[in-house]
């Protein structure tokens, strides 16, 4: 119950934060931009719209997760609101989970809104509904949950600026680490290959959540792949949250 109360309050804070509406506004603009791009393109206009639309949902969602997530705990400490909160009979882990779920709820609602606008624009072009798009958006949402946990982790021990930089680095590494997998296949077995494998296991692979190409180009989506990606997301997010709790457990609020 305590977690729900903190989560709902975090959502309320986000709702009353005007930055949220601004981002939503930008998403709308970027979706219109995709339509404009499509006009200039030779070939399949719908594919361009789908591509740009999905990319902007991902980008704006990521910005929200990082910008809001990195301030999530820091703001509570900086504004000293955490004093009265943790003076109540609350575990610090409950506080963190509440904050995390509050932001996830905010991002979920924003993703739903963005998806609705996107689907509407697409419908106006094709007069049909492609439900597979929603699957791609669902996995974007899973990635955003993971990114929220990343931002929250950094937010427990550093300032929002540094936490944003670290989270951004995590995001970039996460989207480039798949090339390590390619490299592993090409390197001869031995110490080098083992080291690369360890590195690939430790580093995040956010491409696991990227089904944009498959959806846009109507390629098959194997259930096994979707399943492992989902499990990967849940386990990695849980691991990050656990790490955040460990950092937060013995922190002094001076």
């Amino acid at each position: 119950m305590k977690i729900t109360t903190i989560a709902l309050n975090t959502f309320k804070e986000a709702k009353r934060d005007r930055v949220l509406y601004l981002l939503f506004f930008f998403v709308a603009v970027s979706l219109l931009f995709s339509r404009f791009l499509a006009l200039l393109t030779v070939g399949d206009r719908v594919k361009i719209i789908k591509d740009v639309g999905l990319a902007s949902i991902s980008l704006f969602g990521m910005l929200m997760a990082i910008l809001m997530g990195t301030g999530l705990v820091y703001k509570e400490i900086d504004k000293k609101t955490i004093f009265t909160l943790l003076a109540k009979p609350i575990h610090r882990a409950e506080f963190l989970l509440g904050k995390f779920l509050g932001l996830v709820l905010t991002i979920f609602i924003m993703t739903v809104l963005m998806a609705a606008v996107f689907m509407l624009i697409l419908f106006l072009h094709t007069f049909s509904v492609d439900w597979k798009i929603l699957l791609a958006i669902l996995y974007i949402f899973f990635e955003l949950c993971l990114m929220t946990a990343v931002a929250l982790l950094f937010s427990t021990f550093t300032t929002p600026i540094l936490a944003s930089l670290y989270s951004l680095a995590f995001y970039l590494i996460g989207h480039l680490s798949w090339s390590l997998e390619m490299l592993i296949k090409k390197v001869k077995s031995g110490a080098g290959r083992a080291a690369l494998r360890v590195l690939y296991t430790v580093l995040p692979d956010l491409e696991n959540f990227n089904f944009k190409t498959e959806v846009v180009h109507n390629l098959p989506l194997p259930g096994k792949l979707l399943g492992t990606s989902f499990v990967y997301g849940v386990v990695y997010t849980a691991f990050l949250l656990l790490l955040a709790m460990l950092v937060f457990r013995r922190r002094d609020f001076v």
């Binding site: 804070e13 000293k80 943790l86 003076a87 109540k88 009979p89």
Partner: protein, 305 residues
């Protein structure tokens, strides 16, 4: 009388600077608070009052020592079940209204439904914030935040109320109201732990005090034991007699019009002052024996350290 709060040899040092250097803030703080009393925690700015309170509430972890609340280790969240806390310069979620703010804390404490609404209404009235209940906290003045903060601290009907500099930022009427509320808490059987550097507040309402200086408790006990009943000097205000007449009897502090404020240190000289006034056809306007105050004790202790 049971012990509600007990600190045993609590140490805390902060690491400061780029190359962290330990700066001790609490150097073996020990005291206890008895059930049903108002306990004053006194000390100048930077003495370690807030650090002690944060250690009690688990916002800071002591390096050494033990803290128990109602016999339970303070490290357990359960120990804070019956504790209410108002921090110094309270900061709250400024996007919430006063009512929403109290509702949020009530939810956290597991108070729901009609009981929640009743409690919110009762405490808004108690702290005199009914009219500002639907205003966002960002529009509150410091004194108003202090009041709503007190309501928040009392929501769970705590047996121990910890108040860190509760009267700071209040006007004289607000201070009196706060004092009355604190005294009423005692009447309801609650224990109050009150930190302050304003001696007057503590002197007026506290049963026992502990004085902290540079991280060490330098004195503690019942207020009556700390302050002696001995008359330090007597202040006499005399009208119609020039100050020079009293030079050999006491120290004339100030004159205003034909009035003289005289400080008389020896008791036997008071009679002489009175007869001199009679003789010179003047009049006694007031005569007040001054006993030792907490302030005197405090200043002496700080000087002697």
């Amino acid at each position: 009388m049971g012990r509600v709060l007990e600190l045993e040899n609590v140490h805390k040092a902060y690491k400061l600077g780029f190359i962290p250097k330990k700066k001790p803030v609490l150097k073996g703080v020990s005291f206890h608070v008895n059930e049903g009393e108002i306990f004053g925690y006194l000390g100048p700015n930077g003495a370690g009052k807030t650090t002690t309170i944060k250690c009690i509430l688990n916002l800071i972890f002591p390096d050494a020592g033990r803290i128990t609340i109602f016999g339970e280790d303070s490290l357990r969240p359960r120990a804070r079940q019956k504790v209410g806390f108002l921090p110094e310069n309270p900061y709250f979620y400024d996007y919430l209204t006063g009512r929403e703010f109290l509702a949020f804390y009530a939810d956290l404490l597991g108070i729901h439904g009609q009981a929640r609404e009743d409690k919110i209404g009762y405490f808004l009235k108690l702290v005199g914030m009914e009219r500002a209940a639907d205003l966002q906290l960002r529009k509150y003045s410091r004194g108003m935040l202090q009041r709503i903060g007190l309501a928040q601290a009392l929501l769970n009907d705590p047996a121990l109320v910890i108040l860190d500099e509760p009267m700071g930022g209040l006007d004289p009427i607000g201070r009196k109201e706060f004092r009355d509320i604190i005294v009423n808490l005692k009447k309801e059987g609650k224990t109050v732990f009150l930190s302050s550097h304003i001696l007057q507040d503590i002197e007026m309402i506290c049963d026992r005090v502990a004085i902290i200086l540079a991280g060490e408790i330098i004195n503690q006990g019942y207020l009556g034991d700390l302050i002696s009943e001995k008359v330090l000097f007597t202040e006499v205000i005399i009208g119609g007699v020039p100050a020079a007449e009293f030079d050999h009897l006491g120290e004339s502090v100030s004159t205003s019009g034909d009035r003289v404020l005289l400080k008389v240190y020896e008791e036997e000289k008071i009679d002489q002052v009175l007869s001199l006034v009679q003789q010179k056809k003047g009049k006694i306007i007031s005569l007040i024996p001054r006993t030792e105050t907490l302030e005197d004790i405090f200043v002496n202790m700080v000087k002697s350290q």
